[in-house]
């Protein structure tokens, strides 16, 4: 019964880019782990393997079943996020983790993918040529509930990411340009209110981003040290396992948020170009899959997953090279973290799924 067109339509470029990123991720974690003192790299290797299994799993069913179960996906996500608020493990002041016996789950990571799936389903079911603002209250609510729960943890970075994902999917679904103007015009006066909603440490991060030298040993410290790390890499890097910024602990969180700094310091500009090229291949294939799909749901899904990877990559790298304030967003497949790897790989699986089934409409 197996149709061999599924194999013919397997996206090898996308797959190779993913494998390349995993290799870079492992090599880099090997060095970062030496700096932290715990062998994170082998755990990450396990997650890569599990992630690949999930990726193939997410290719095997017809993705058109997703709209009919999207309500349950959304409900489960919200349930997990509520659960984490009440009985989650607290790490560094915020409750993000849910203990599942042998492993820990970070529901806010899963929320990224489930938001993409649920929004795609909604726009697919309620398809129009262009949407007006008043058509969008339901998808906005779909996004706002998990986003607010994540904001409560507090994890501002991920909460904002969900909002950006919403905007991305609205973009591909089509919105009237007058609506965009209205949103921006009405959002501008609300900015001071947003500043009030931020926690003091979040405000300090933004202030120190705008002017890091005012407080070099305080909250600006990490950004300054990260910039020094990236810059001192120069063209070819300081040598593998020889980045003094990372190995001598000037950098914080070298295995998660600041993994890119370690890579930049030790492999230099050339290493960065390799990493960015791999991401570019992955993202372009994602958009191409969205373009080639013959029906809207595949387009939304592939576009949403691509946006999910793109925005996380952009925010993370901008943060460590001093173009953005510090928010905790991982670099997909490079930062250590089981939930993040799984979410990304499930998303990749969905993209491959859309691509493999495009012939269904010939």
């Amino acid at each position: 019964m197996f149709d061999k067109r599924y194999i013919e339509n397997f996206d090898w470029w996308l797959f190779l880019a993913v494998m390349g990123l995993m290799i870079v991720g492992f090599i880099n974690l090997n060095s970062a782990s030496a700096a932290t003192g715990f062998p994170f790299q082998y755990k990450q290797l396990q997650w890569y393997v599990i992630g690949l299994v999930f990726m193939f799993g997410f290719m095997c069913f017809d993705y058109h079943v997703l709209p009919s179960v999207s309500l349950y996906i959304w409900g489960l996500t919200v349930f997990l996020l509520v659960l984490v608020l009440f009985m989650g493990k607290s790490v560094g002041g915020s409750q993000r983790w849910l203990s599942l016996g042998v492993m820990r789950l970070q529901p806010s990571e899963l929320a990224k993918l489930s938001t993409v799936i649920v929004l795609s389903s909604w726009f697919y079911k309620d398809e129009r040529e262009q949407y007006r603002l008043r058509d969008l209250w339901l998808p906005l609510l779909i996004t706002a509930v998990p986003a607010l729960l994540i904001y409560k943890q507090p994890d501002l970075g991920t909460a904002l990411l969900l909002v950006i994902l919403f905007a991305s999917i609205v973009y591909i679904a089509g919105i009237r340009w007058t609506s965009v103007v209205i949103v921006f015009a009405s959002a501008a006066p609300l900015l001071p209110l947003g500043w009030k909603l931020l926690k003091p440490y979040q405000r300090r991060r933004i202030e120190s981003f705008l002017n890091p030298e005012t407080d070099p040993f305080g909250s600006g410290y990490h950004v300054i040290q990260s910039k020094i790390a990236v810059g001192s890499g120069q063209l070819t890097g300081t040598g593998y396992m020889h980045g003094s910024q990372a190995q001598l602990k000037f950098l914080p969180e070298v295995h998660t948020d600041f993994a890119f700094s370690v890579w930049s310091e030790e492999w230099g500009f050339l290493g960065d170009m390799v990493l960015l090229s791999l991401f570019t291949i992955l993202l372009c294939r994602g958009i191409a899959i969205a373009q080639e799909s013959k029906e809207p749901f595949g387009t939304y899904l592939a576009f949403g997953v691509t946006a999910m990877i793109f925005w996380q990559m952009l925010v993370n790298i901008c943060m460590v090279i001093g173009l953005m304030p510090v928010v905790g967003v991982p670099l997909p497949l490079i930062s250590y973290g089981g939930s993040s790897v799984l979410t990304t790989m499930m998303g990749i699986g969905l993209m491959l799924n859309v691509r493999a089934r495009r012939f269904m409409f010939h």
């Binding site: 715990f38 973009y171 810059g231 063209l235 602990k249 170009m273 809207p296």
Partner: protein, 637 residues
């Protein structure tokens, strides 16, 4: 065929012709955003790495700020009178800074003869060291003694890379007291790190792994400090830029009394078992002992493989807190529940008697009483005092399993007492559903007879039994046993007081409870009581013995002639003074034999010690018993 079938099933919609073209255009916009972003990143990276790379590289080399963590002194653990059970002392560690070692083998060759440590242990440590940053000192030997320190100190110049580091370590002024309660510290492991329970701990730090040390890790640990230093290129200190002082951990005052705890541990001696002593009016734990003990000092200095094997002995299980992490058949101590249930359900009253001729016939099976000659005509007082099995077979059959299970739960069995220590067992109150699910068999009347005398599938922990007898003693309130009296912050001001919460009320009226209590007094004070060995001069004691069979015995044999693992468990639960209880005790001796002859004397020692402690000195003298009784009464009011 198949594909189109799925399509109609899932209502797959294709793009309309206009939509498709529009979205193609939007995807083109997405490409533009991606390439634009990449261009921004590449130009920023070339600005940092290519144009200003030299400058940042110099900055990195001149980066001379080091942040050194300052360990916070761990909080102390004290008994209810403020006596130090676990304190802090400086602990000297011999460390190696990997960065400064030229040749590890030649260093080890010189270092090993100076250490009192087997080579294999040191090698394991060296291998673990490879996971740590090269510039941080990694511990080779924790808690080195003065001999080692002085030997190494003298040759420090020949040992490049070796440093002697001082960290706060545990000391135990009274030796290994209540090790199962206090618990021990260990080095942070990868699993601990992953669990996220130790937010501020770093590799090599000591964290609580067991008992109170683990449960109150956050409170005891305090907050680490930080010293920001400026160093030169040879890593020598130039100046201290800033310092944040560590905040010491809170001190924990326990409800445990050191003297009573010692009496309990001495009473158990080298037998395997547990003692739990409670204050019945508050639910506070006065002593909680489990044997064999393990040596806290050994854990403090780093336990050797051989010692680890001993404390994990599969037969005696020293690491298991037998007071709550192990459940046993309650034997005849369960008759307290049975008596309460039968009175409350009006199956018997004070006057009801059954005739015991030494056995009870159910169909063709014969259920024996422990006394083969029989107890003759037996009422409830005699039945409890002499532990007549036949009496309880009779009421058990009348009550039925459902009511027995309901009352057992009402007495706090079959569920955790909530003592707030990890690994507490639930025990088991068997029911019809339980047997159907577990064994796929129907409940038989014979099963009811077995549980009526605390045999069969019923399981309880010593702490449950202590809580049960304390609630009988205080007139029916079941408390959640607590062991912390208060936490005191580093400034010496009380931060938090603890009181034991109520878990519930016994499902027995005060009138019926007083009948049970009168009967329990007869167990110790009566002429034929089974716990005459627990009599204390000047104080009336109430209690109940229990002897729980471990293996089915077809023939009656002397316990001394059986293998240790096959002997009966000895139980004794008691409270005193009988009319105005100040202490409740549960004693279990694994494979000890008879409750009355083995467990009761231990309970007596504990209770005697308690009255000595509470009495005005000089202590109990026979001729002063009247005045002593008055003193005890005034203390209780």
């Amino acid at each position: 065929m198949r594909i189109s079938g799925i399509k109609t099933l899932l209502h797959v919609k294709k793009f309309g012709p206009d939509h498709q073209g529009h979205r193609q255009k939007l995807c083109g916009g997405a490409y533009a955003i991606i390439f634009l972003s990449m261009a921004v990143l590449v130009s920023r990276l070339s600005y940092l790495q290519l144009m200003n790379g030299k400058k940042f590289s110099e900055l990195s080399q001149r980066n001379s700020v080091r942040i050194v963590p300052l360990q916070a002194p761990r909080g102390k653990i004290l008994d209810r009178n403020g006596r130090l059970l676990a304190g802090v002392r400086p602990c000297f560690n011999i460390c190696v800074v990997r960065k400064d070692v030229k040749n590890m083998e030649s260093l080890l060759g010189k270092l090993l003869p100076l250490l009192n440590e087997p080579e294999s242990t040191v090698r394991v440590r060296v291998r673990q060291m490879l996971n740590q940053p090269a510039y941080l000192p990694a511990v080779i030997k924790r808690g080195a003694d003065w001999d080692e320190i002085s030997r190494i100190e003298a040759r420090l110049s020949e040992l490049p890379g070796v440093v002697i580091d001082v960290t706060p370590g545990r000391k135990y002024p009274y030796g290994s007291i209540a090790p199962h309660l206090l618990g021990y510290l260990g080095e942070l492991s990868q699993e601990d790190m992953d669990s996220g329970r130790f937010a501020s701990a770093a590799p090599g730090d000591l964290v609580g792994k067991y008992g109170i040390e683990a449960r109150y890790q956050a409170e005891l640990a305090g907050r680490k400090g930080e010293r920001t230093l400026e160093v030169d290129s040879r890593m020598m200190l130039k100046r201290v830029i800033s310092e944040r002082k560590p905040v010491p951990g809170d001190d924990i005052f326990l409800t445990i009394d050191l003297d009573l705890q010692m009496a309990a541990e001495q009473g158990l001696g080298d037998q395997v078992g547990a003692v739990v002593a409670l204050d019945p009016s508050t639910g506070r734990i006065l002593a909680l002992a489990s044997t064999p003990k393990f040596d806290l000092e050994a854990f403090a200095r780093g336990i050797s493989t051989k010692e680890w094997q001993i404390v994990n002995d599969p037969l005696y299980r020293p690491m298991v807190n037998k007071a709550l992490q192990e459940a046993y058949a309650p034997g005849s101590t369960f008759k307290i529940v049975m008596a309460g249930a039968a009175l409350q359900e009006k199956i018997v009253d004070e006057a009801t008697t059954f005739f015991c001729n030494g056995s009870f016939k159910l169909g063709r099976r014969r259920f024996r009483c422990w006394n083969r000659r029989g107890h003759g005509k037996t009422n409830i007082y005699k039945a409890l005092a002499e532990s007549c099995d036949v009496y309880f077979y009779n009421i058990g059959l009348k009550l039925g399993v459902d009511r027995i299970a309901r009352f057992a739960r009402g007495f706090g069995l079959g569920e955790r007492t909530g003592i707030d220590l990890p690994g507490e067992q639930r025990g088991l109150v068997p029911t019809r559903e339980w047997k159907r699910k577990k064994k796929h068999e129907a409940w038989l009347k014979g099963d009811t007879l077995n549980i009526s005398i605390g045999q069969g599938a019923v399981l309880v922990t010593p702490v449950q039994m202590a809580s049960l007898v304390a609630s009988v003693a205080n007139g029916g309130t079941i408390y959640r046993p607590g062991y912390v009296e208060r936490l005191v912050g580093p400034d010496g001001v009380t931060e938090k007081e603890f009181a034991c919460k109520e878990r519930g009320k016994l499902p027995v009226s005060l009138k019926n409870l007083s009948i049970v209590k009168k009967a329990l007094k007869g167990v110790v004070q009566g002429r034929h009581g089974t716990a005459r060995k627990c009599r204390i001069r000047g104080v009336e004691v109430a209690g109940k013995t229990g002897t729980a069979q471990v293996v089915k015995q077809t023939k009656r044999r002397q316990s001394e002639r059986m293998k240790w693992q096959c002997r009966d468990h000895a139980w004794f639960v008691a409270y005193a003074p009988a009319d105005n209880p100040l202490i409740a005790v549960a004693v279990l001796v694994e494979h000890g034999g008879h409750g009355g002859s083995v467990a009761a004397p231990i309970a007596r020692q504990v209770m005697e010690r308690w009255f000595q402690l509470m009495a005005p000195k000089p202590v109990i003298m026979p001729q002063r018993s009247a005045s002593f009784r008055a003193a005890v009464a005034s203390l209780a009011s």
